[in-house]
Subunit: 132 residues, 2 copies
């Protein structure tokens, strides 16, 4: 069962806050990347493109960490540890467009690269802690 995001921090899921995603490389060392996200009520959903480091890492080692910092107060944040439970191309293009709407107020994702295949990942929160 997914861990719940405390109600008094759910505003962070709606704001233009970035998620700082931690994944683990093949050699066991960590990697951290900022990215857009949304929340479907149960899962944190993120979006990347096939073949990137984070894509490879999440397919091979699905345990991930997310830190989500309040853009209006950097001393207030969520730390989420969890597992990638779904990786899909289906709906991934519509999903990146909806994230462009959330973060840029644009209907279409403007940074698409030629030939890039978008992928959506659903992360099930297992442990959630909040600060500030």
């Amino acid at each position: 069962m997914a861990a719940a995001i405390p109600e008094q921090y759910q505003d962070l899921l709606q704001k233009k806050a970035f998620a700082h995603l931690g994944t683990v490389m093949k050699d066991g060392s960590p990697q951290v990347t900022p990215l857009w996200f949304d929340y479907d009520g149960t899962h944190i959903r993120i979006n990347s493109a096939e073949g990137r480091w984070k894509d490879k890492n999440m397919r091979a080692r699905p345990q991930v960490a997310l830190e989500i910092l309040d853009p209006d107060n950097p001393y207030r944040y969520l730390q989420i540890r969890g597992k990638v439970v779904d990786i899909t191309k289906e709906g991934a293009d519509a999903h990146i467009d909806s994230l462009a709407k959330k973060y840029l107020d644009q209907d279409k994702y403007p940074f698409r690269q030629p030939g890039e295949v978008r992928v959506m990942y659903k992360i099930e929160p297992e442990r959630v802690s909040a600060m500030g």
Copy 2:
């Protein structure tokens, strides 16, 4: 030899930018935490307290990752992967005070907890990439 921070991104080392530190837990899963940092010209220096998760993780598994996002432009950031090459209590109290000066413009770190033992970690950058 430490990797260099590209000159056109060195402003990020001086600004009140947070570092998002990725470490790895005993079970191989990642952890991400926001924290203050400074740069001594070679190493990224961070500060924590004895016994915290990140302290335990860095002592056991010194390979870490840092992502440093420009507070004035979230699409501009540094990603640094490297190794903790020094862990010391010596100077760690003065160091957290100097970080309080950088981030809060206060001479003394105001969040000290009773009994807490401050620790300073020096991270040698091994791979640096920049976006934006």
